[in-house]
Symmetry: C2
Subunit: 345 residues, 2 copies
């Protein structure tokens, strides 16, 4: 008897049992005081709460999740964390989920398909209540796993493709088309495209594709493409713009895959003595916080990230509560600023 050291006094993490022992009730009563307080006598409830406070008790959700039915985790899989591309989606999403006591488990694939599989598997191993993931284009095995998991899957950002369950986003092909249309309406004719277009960045590919189709439909010469596999940055934009103009001096408009690339392109054009917007128009995508603050202010497409984050949270909650899957299109806006406002058009 005395050889069995329970060691309750040691600096071990307190459990329900510690509380129960101290208060002199059963483990289940303590559990109930947490989950269904009204089923426990007020006086007793108070004593239990006091003991929890005193021992700095924090429930063990590993055990709770294993035993119960809920897991309270929402997996969020993004393709990038750099710059503000998806940060504000995560921000609103996380904050909305927090109100329902759902925890975000984050994974960043960095546009790597193998990584995506590994990360999705890893997140699934936590038995999340739902998963929100960027894009609708995933490796077959990822789709298989997500489908087999039988939990709500919300695909964000892109809606153009085979949706697994529910999607919240927009059609990136149309964004590219709108960019082309805007440039054409502004009087530009020789359109080029620069930026980071990674192998697994289907959204960038779709925008480019939309741009090309719209340009071709308007009878314009073929879009000159100059892209890179590395991540977008001002430095990349600067280099690509230099090389582009060197090889294609006839270009009079540049569509950039992202604002940060456009920032660098603007710098390169200034160095080259090209006037924006009169000699060359520049349009981009993303609505970076600085887009309106560069010289000249940058025409860009503003996706409503806050709204996507918020609607994704709502979709997750709805699906958890049994609502049907659906696809929600979130509007974007082409913000016309000076960089495409040709005076002599």
């Amino acid at each position: 008897m005395d050889t069995e050291i329970t060691d309750k006094g040691a600096r071990s993490v307190p459990t329900l049992a510690s509380i129960a022992e101290r208060v002199g009730v059963s483990v289940n009563t303590v559990s109930r005081a947490l989950r269904a307080p009204h089923t426990v006598r007020p006086e007793l409830r108070q004593r239990i709460n006091a003991a929890m406070e005193e021992l700095n008790y924090v429930p063990n959700r590993l055990a709770g999740g294993l035993s119960g039915t809920r897991s309270d985790i929402v997996g969020v899989v993004v393709t990038s964390l750099y710059y503000s591309e998806f940060a504000s989606i995560i921000d609103t999403l996380q904050s909305a989920l927090l109100e329902r006591d759902l925890q975000v488990m984050l994974a960043n694939t960095r546009y790597n398909a193998d990584q995506e599989l590994k990360l999705v598997r890893s997140i699934l191993s936590w038995r999340p209540a739902a998963i929100a993931i960027i894009g609708v284009d995933h490796p077959p095995k990822v789709v298989e796993l997500l489908k087999a998991s039988a939990i709500p899957i919300i695909e964000m950002w892109d809606t153009d493709g085979e949706v697994i369950d529910t999607a919240v986003g927009f059609d990136h092909t149309r964004v590219g088309a709108a960019q082309a249309d805007h440039l054409i309406a502004a009087g530009y004719r020789r359109i080029a495209f620069i930026g980071s277009v990674r192998e697994n960045d289907r959204r960038a590919q779709k925008r480019l594709s939309g741009l090309e189709i719209a340009a071709a439909a308007a009878g314009l010469p073929e879009v000159v493409k100059h892209t890179a596999q590395q991540g977008g940055s001002p430095a990349l934009g600067e280099r690509l713009a230099f090389e582009l103009i060197e090889g294609h001096p006839e270009i009079d408009a540049i569509a950039c895959n992202s604002d940060v690339v456009a920032f660098g392109a603007l710098r390169a054009l200034k160095t080259l003595g090209k006037r924006v917007p009169d000699d060359i128009g520049v349009i981009a995508f993303g609505d970076n916080e600085a887009a309106g603050c560069v010289t000249p202010p940058l025409t860009t497409v503003r996706p409503d990230r806050e709204r996507i984050g918020k609607l994704t949270a709502e979709a997750i909650l709805a699906r958890i509560n049994g609502a049907e899957p659906c696809t929600t299109i979130v509007e974007w806006e082409l913000v016309a600023r000076e960089s495409t406002h040709k005076k002599n058009a």
Copy 2:
């Protein structure tokens, strides 16, 4: 006997037992095939792996974590996700942890102390292997909880204060002082400070404090402060700059709490006909990706976020493996650009 429906054929999530049953071995053997493959006969291991693949088996880490000793979760608590303030820290941190199969559980306090307590509690309830958190200034209850948790706590970004366990960052007071010194050396005398300085943003307060002390030490008139509680943005910077110049036309230098605020301030100054850097110098903090692309290019302080993320990951792994707590100072750099390069100094 036949009344007991085990229902193994139903679309339920497969467990070790499902695999074991299908292969005809014990549960533990399947578990071993995962954790210690060399202890299982190759032929059998293959059959087990095949069954797992076929059934899309994903281990349940809730169970694993409850039973085993490790949890493989690292909690990451940031104060903001907007813009790129902490995104690249999270990016490098997450990516480095991934190599050791550690999952990031993310929480964003939005500079709200109550939220911080709630979030820390929530993260602790997942029994993480470690917690990385922004800042060294936390509410007493948060500190108590973190200390009581007996896991490695890495405080990031700021090192100036009472460190709970291990810290990776820098002293923000010195940043403010360096900003003042730079402005003074560049020939400015009437320094103002604008930006978002939230009640719980001790780092911003420290930078401001450093600026004031250094200005006073140089015999300059008192720093004019014009701050706001809302989050930093170009729009905020624009408004604050307008109001500042209206009330204090004598100002010849503005230190901004963040680059995005400076972007707006530059725009306001241009509107007001003030020339930067000749009439007014502008310096900021953060090294936003666009800082070098605005007009004029913005002088700012560049914290090494990638390095902080990487060193934090290393500190976490080291502490988990029993290394002693320590504080690591990560160097920052004052990037002098045109916005403080007064020609007639």
